[in-house]
Amino acid sequence: MNSKTAKIIARTFFSFSLLFGFYLMAHGHISHGAGFAGGVLITLAFLQVVIVLGKDAVSGIINRHNAKLVAVLGTGALLLIAALGYFYGNSFLSNYISTGTPFTIFSGGTAALFNIALCTGTAGCLVLIYLSIFKKG
């Protein structure tokens, strides 16, 4: 895309979109929005840069290899958190971490960790799907 306006807007809003995505991820168990919404928003932040600045300009960071790594790590962490319930809790997916005080950041037990893992997995998968479909930019 050759539009200078689009480039300025994409560069400016990249950090804001990313910050809002991380906010939704971290506060998913306290307020509205959760891991999935945060992950999709982070994907959107990366995709606006890829679409406007071009795939080659950002290929050092946003490429298929990194996207694969993030997708597998996120989903793997989700499985690991669920499986650890066998050892530290009563069953698979049980809430084995202290639930803490509600309405504070350190609350929710495994729900907070699930949010982070789901956000990472979703962002990785969606970026990977986009980069695979539009390979030539």
């Binding site: 939704l24 998913g28 168990h29 306290i30 307020s31 509205h32 929005g33 959760a34 999935f36 919404a37 999709v40 928003l41 994907t43 959107l44 995709l47 606006q48 679409i51 298929r64 694969k68 997708a71 597998v72 996120g74 989903t75 989700l78 499985l79 669920a82 997916l93 809430n95 202290s98 639930t99 803490g100 005080t101 509600p102 309405f103 609350s107 929710g108 037990g109 495994t110 729900a111 907070a112 699930f114 949010n115 789901l118 997995g121 979703t122 990785g124 998968c125 969606l126 990977l128 799907i129 986009y130 695979s132 479909i133 539009f134 390979k135």
Partner: protein
């Protein structure tokens, strides 16, 4: 509730434009407007979590569809032949008839039975420590659903990577 009904009229109009527009790019834009209206409807029905996800997903879908359409060139959609229109109308009438019969048996809108919902809503914050009850249900009571949804997303990504790699 009047705002929902007004929004519904706009949603039907956007959907009709998306289906009937001759230009493919106009259809994509109409689809984006429809998604925005759906997100607003969720907000009015007091479901902000769904509204956020719908809004953001709609943006991604719009970006991908717009890119795909502009890449292919905006070709006019071919006109439908009379036979397919008649078939469409016949199936639409059948669908509406079945829907009317199926929805007649449901409890009235706004007064759900809340058998399972009552258990979730009462004491979910104390049980899980998560003050957002939607997150408490998603990650605790229905954790397996969320886990399988994430697996499904990864499976979709693997499938797309496999197919696009094979094409080269």
């Amino acid at each position: 509730m009047i705002s929902i009904q007004v929004l519904l009229v706009f949603m039907i109009a956007s959907a009709a434009i998306a289906v009937e527009a001759n230009d493919l790019f106009a259809s994509v834009i109409a689809l984006g407007v429809l998604g925005l209206e759906l997100s607003l409807a969720c907000l009015l029905l007091k479901s902000p979590d769904t509204a956020i996800i719908l809004l953001v997903l709609e943006m991604i879908a719009l970006a991908v569809l717009a890119k795909a359409v502009t890449k292919q060139g905006s070709k006019p959609v071919r006109d439908l032949d009379p036979l397919s229109s008649v078939t469409f109308i016949a199936f639409a009438v059948l669908f509406v008839t079945i829907c009317v019969k199926a929805f007649a048996g449901l409890p009235a809108f706004g007064s759900p039975l809340m058998k399972l919902g009552d258990i979730y809503a009462s004491g979910a914050v104390e049980k899980t420590g998560a003050s957002n009850i939607v997150a408490a249900v998603m990650f605790n009571f229905r954790g397996l659903d969320t886990l399988i949804a994430a697996m499904l997303l990864l499976l979709t990504a693997i499938g797309i990577v496999h197919i696009t790699d094979k094409k080269e």
